[in-house]
Amino acid sequence: MRALAQQLVLGLLIGGLYGLAAAGLSLIFGVLKVLNVAHGELIVLGGYGAFWLFTLYGLDPFVALVLVVPASLLLGIGLYATLFGFVVRADEETRIKNSLLIGFGLALALQALAVRLWTADERSIPTPYGGAALSISDLSLPVIRLLSLGIAFGLILGVQLLLEHWRWGKAIRATAEDWQAALLAGIDVRRAYLLAFAIGTALAGATGVLVTIGYSVSPSIGLEWTLKALIVVVLAGLGSMIGTFVGGLLLGVAEAASAAAFGGPYREVVGLVLFVVVLIVRPRGLFGR
C-alpha cells in the first residue's frame, strides 16, 4: 500500500512536467494550427542549456531558468521567422502537413546537433540539495521534484493570466478562435502567431530545465517528450492552460498506476490507450472548448 502511494505521488510529480511540456505544444497548435513535432527536441535543448550553465559556470539549475526561458523565447522567434512563419501562410489543412515535414526535419537536425555538442551520454545535474526529501507520513517527496512541480504550475498560471488579461494575450485567443475575424478586428495575426510560438517554445525550454534537474537529459529523449505532450494535449483538449496542466497530472498518475498494476513495461502503454479512448469517447478532450 505504501509502495503504491509512493509510486502514485512520483507519477503526480512527473505529471506536472508532462503538463508543462504539453502547455507549450497546445498553445502553438491551438493558435497556429501547426503541430511542432520538434517540441521534444526544444525541451532537450533547454535541458542542455541548464546543463551547460551548471558545468561551465557552476550556475544553479533553478537559477538557470531565468536565462534559459528568455533564450528559448528568442529561439522561438528565430524558428518562427525562418521556418514556421512560412507554414502559416497556407490554409489550415495544409499547415498541419507542412508543419509535420518541417518539424520532423528540425527534430532530426537538433538531435544530431545535440549528439555533436554534448555526446549521446545521459546527463544530469548533481546539486547539493538533490538528495533532500520531505517525509509526509510514510511518503518521501524529493524536494527538487516538488519545487519543479510548483514552478511548472506557476509558469502555466502565468501564461493563463497573460492570455486572459494582456492585450496581446486576448489577441492570441481571438486569433486561435477565428483568425479572419481577428484580422477584421485590426489584430496583426502574424504577430499573434509569432508571440504564441515564442511563448510555447519558452515553455519547452523551461520544461527541459526541470526535466534535467529532476531526472536526466540525453539527445534521444525528444520524441518521447513530444509523444507525452501530444497525449496530454489530446487528453485535456485545447483552450485551457490549467486544463492542460491537470491533464499532465492525470497522465503521470495513470502511468504510475498501470506500472504498479501490470509492471514497469506497461507505463508507456497506458498513455497510448488513453489517447485512443479519449479520441473515441470525447474528441475535444476533457477540458476542451
Binding site: A171, A174, E177, Q180, L183, I187
Partner: protein, 242 residues
C-alpha cells in the same frame, strides 16, 4: 472616398467578380444587392483585405488598398461586419467589443467608444459580462456591429446583417445603421432584404454573376422592372400602381 475600379477576382478557375466598378462617397449609405453567389461577399472581402483581387484597383482616400494587410486596412478606417457575425464565441460581450478597438487609431478612445456602442444598443450594456454564445441572434449581430464600430471606422461595411433575424430585429439593426450614418460614418451594405436596403440607402448597385447590372438612387432601382421581378417576386406591386 472608396473607389473600386474594374475589379476581377477568381477562386481557382471560377470567376467571382468580372470587372466591378463601384464608389462610396463621404457620409453615404450605399446598398449592394443581388442574388446568392453574385459576388457580393467576395467584393467586401477584397476591400477588407481577406482576399486579393486578380486585377483592378481599390482606392481609399486616394491610396491603393490592394495588397495591404487586413489589420492595416482597419487602421485606415474601414471596418467589415462579416457574414455570419464571426464573433469570438468564448469571450464576453465586452471582450469582443474591446478587441474591436485593437487598432492604434481606436485605442485611445476605447472607453468613449464603448459607451457610444452601449448607448446605441442598450441591451448589450446589461449583458456585457455574458459570453456571446449565450446571446440571441439579434444581440449577437449587435455585438458584431458594435465590434466593428469600436475601430472608429469612416466606412462601415456590412455583409448580410439581417440574415436569420426576425423582422423586428432587422428593423432595429437597420435603424441603428441610419443612426450610425448620421454620426458621419459612410455605410456599404450588402443585403438580401432588397426592399429595406434600397429604401434606406442613398444609392444602390445591383450585382449579378460578378458584374454590376444597375446603379442609381435606391428608389429608382426599386422601380426597375427587372429588379422587381428578380428580387421582390412577381406579385410585388409597383409603388406607382398603389
Amino acid at each position: 472616398m472608396l473607389e473600386v475600379h474594374d475589379l476581377h477576382v477568381s477562386y481557382g478557375d471560377i470567376r467571382a467578380l468580372s470587372g466591378v466598378t463601384l464608389a462610396v462617397g463621404r457620409g453615404e449609405i450605399v446598398a449592394l444587392v443581388g442574388p446568392n453567389g453574385a459576388g457580393k461577399s467576395t467584393l467586401l472581402k477584397c476591400i477588407a483585405g481577406l482576399l486579393r483581387p486578380r486585377a483592378g484597383a481599390i482606392r481609399w482616400q486616394d491610396e491603393s488598398l490592394v495588397g495591404v494587410a487586413g489589420h492595416l486596412i482597419v487602421e485606415r478606417g474601414l471596418a467589415l461586419v462579416p457574414e455570419g457575425r464571426r464573433l469570438f464565441a468564448g469571450m464576453s460581450v465586452q471582450e469582443n467589443l474591446e478587441l474591436g478597438a485593437f487598432a492604434a487609431r481606436a485605442r485611445g478612445a476605447q472607453s468613449a467608444n464603448l459607451e457610444r456602442v452601449y448607448a446605441l444598443f442598450p441591451v448589450l450594456s446589461e449583458r456585457r459580462r455574458i459570453a456571446v454564445r449565450a446571446l440571441s441572434g439579434g444581440q449577437q449581430q449587435m455585438v458584431a456591429v458594435g465590434r466593428a464600430l469600436m475601430s472608429r471606422p469612416a466606412l462601415l461595411m456590412l455583409d448580410e446583417p439581417s440574415l436569420g433575424l426576425a423582422p423586428r430585429l432587422v428593423a432595429s439593426i437597420l435603424d441603428a445603421l441610419v443612426e450610425i450614418n448620421r454620426a458621419g460614418v459612410a455605410v456599404l451594405l450588402v443585403e438580401q432584404n432588397v426592399q429595406a436596403a434600397l429604401t434606406l440607402a442613398h444609392r444602390g448597385y445591383v450585382l449579378e454573376s460578378g458584374r454590376i447590372l444597375g446603379a442609381g438612387p435606391g428608389p429608382e432601382i426599386l422601380r426597375d422592372p427587372h429588379v422587381r421581378q428578380a428580387y421582390l417576386g412577381p406579385l410585388a406591386v409597383a409603388p406607382d400602381a398603389s
